[in-house]
Amino acid sequence: MDRLRDKIIPVTTLLALLVVGWYAFAVVLNGPFQRDLDRRAGEVPGTLEFLVKTWSQPKPTLPAPHQVAQNFFKTTFTVKPWSNRSLVYHSWVTLSSTFVGFIFGAALGILIAVGIVHFASLDRSLMPWIITSQTIPILAIAPMVVVVFAAIGVTGLFPKALISTYLSFFPVAVGMVKGLRSPELMHLDLMHTYNSTRPQIFWKLRVPASIPFLFASMKVAVAASLVGAIVAELPTGAVAGIGAKLLSGSYYSQTIEMWAALVAGSLVAVVLVALVGIAGRITDRAMGGRPA
């Protein structure tokens, strides 16, 4: 009951409002074109008929929710998952490079953080570059990376994963620097009284203390990784993936398909973030975390 009141009702209310607003907005945006069509055909539709027409154009400016849902359902469940028309297939293509990029990004981020925490010189020399790297618009750099790699014959997963890595290492590096430095002075003193070596302090104190920071930053990183993979699919007319689907949709003004691909993309993001969250909660429980 509590769950119903605290979570389900507020979420569904908001969703309902959103859908109603979306339909209204679809009328506003698709209306002018519909009026134009009607005038040319010499028709004078009633209000209701007009509304229905704005919600059922083949290439609307803003597709209505049910149009997107229909397309999403059709391209997800009614076609073979390995066919080029399936959103499952395209999601999988994007997901695989997101995943590879995320793993490398997280590993790179952790590595950088360990270096920064242990060597003061790295802290001073590396950190400004890391921050600078994130000020470069990814939309500008992604096509260049993809094109350069394509020129030397490397295409497919690798260049895309590289863009994901580029976006996802940053939050992990920043989060882990904070996490590895999170042990209190008292705990460090305690380790000192045992005459612990640096590796012992690292493994027995710094690493466990940094775990909550790791999962928090990985949630951000996995979402960034997905954005990287999609952006990397946009240039050079990638043939598969959610990004490619978005691009071809915009070429042929297939707005409904674009929106369906967007929905697929956000679903993938939700699943990824949730997976990291679940992994985080399992780890926390295993480390004696107080149940929330």
Partner: protein, 273 residues
């Protein structure tokens, strides 16, 4: 135990001193200029003693403990622990340190927290288990091995941290206001237990506190300190017997010692005015 006259306590006469400080001084360099945390501290602590350091905040009692533990380096004078430099003593794990807070690692169970120093010192698994059992028995925490720190009360957490300090059998126990954050009832109880533990293990204990009754109740010797600069103003030998029930605190003997400590603290303060 027959208390020795005060003069006997003066330095060199204690044979096989566990801690020897000579003209010890420590100056911190802060942004507001140098702060003299310790000045000309001379002290000798023998094996098996229970010595309390008492004084107002800023008198350097914690700093002195940290110097003994080699967590802080003195800027002048000499400090010997077990006849060697504080650094060598720390390298040989000569002491167990109990902090103001329990400082247990939240991701480790009580047993595994007690095992932490043992793991670091490379004690075998079987030996670890035996020592965990023994030390948790010693602080009356048997049965809580698998609990996490947050599942224990503050007093129990501090007992676990004492168990951790005892686990590797150092002969010296350094305690920095270990019961300062606990309520009076728990504190009385832990004081009693600590005395009992001290009687059983014959360890040397250095105990920092700002409570006069606590210092008098626990100690064989009370070092009174005063601030600016941090220095020792008086060293008081306790005439209380080793066997000390809680109600000893109402005896005239106890009150007399407490009065002397209070006078010592007041005398130290008068420098400020």
């Amino acid at each position: 135990m027959i208390p020795e006259p005060k003069q006997a306590a003066s330095m060199a006469e204690i044979k096989n001193a566990v801690i020897e400080a000579e003209k010890l001084g420590l100056t911190f360099h802060t942004n507001d200029g140098p702060v003299q945390a310790l000045a000309n501290v001379n002290l000798s602590i023998g094996k098996g003693e229970f010595v309390s350091f008492i004084g107002p905040s800023g008198c350097g009692k914690t700093t002195l403990l940290r110097v003994i533990a080699d967590l802080e380096k003195p800027t002048s004078g000499k400090i010997l622990v077990n006849g060697m430099s504080a650094e060598q003593a720390r390298a040989r794990r000569a002491y167990g340190y109990v902090f103001q807070a329990a400082a247990l690692l939240p991701w480790r169970t009580i047993a595994s927290n007690v095992a932490l120093p043992l793991e670091i010192m490379g004690v075998s698994r079987a030996e670890q288990a035996a020592r965990i059992k023994r030390t948790l028995d010693l602080v009356n925490l048997s049965g809580f091995e698998k609990k996490y720190p947050w599942q224990l009360s503050g007093g129990m957490q501090q007992r676990a941290s004492i168990a951790r300090a005892l686990a590797f059998d150092a002969d010296l126990l350094l305690m920095d206001e270990p019961f300062g954050a606990l309520d009076e009832i728990v504190r009385d109880h832990l004081n009693e237990q600590l005395l009992e533990l001290w009687g059983r293990t014959e360890k040397t204990i250095c105990f920092v506190t700002h409570s006069i009754p606590e210092a008098v109740y626990l100690s064989t010797r009370i070092v009174v300190m005063s601030p600016r600069p941090g220095r020792v103003t008086d060293i008081i030998e306790s005439t209380l017997p080793k066997e000390r029930p809680l109600d000893i605190r109402e005896t005239p003997e106890f009150l007399a010692i407490a009065a002397r400590v209070r006078d010592g603290l007041r005398a130290g303060h008068s420098y400020e005015d």
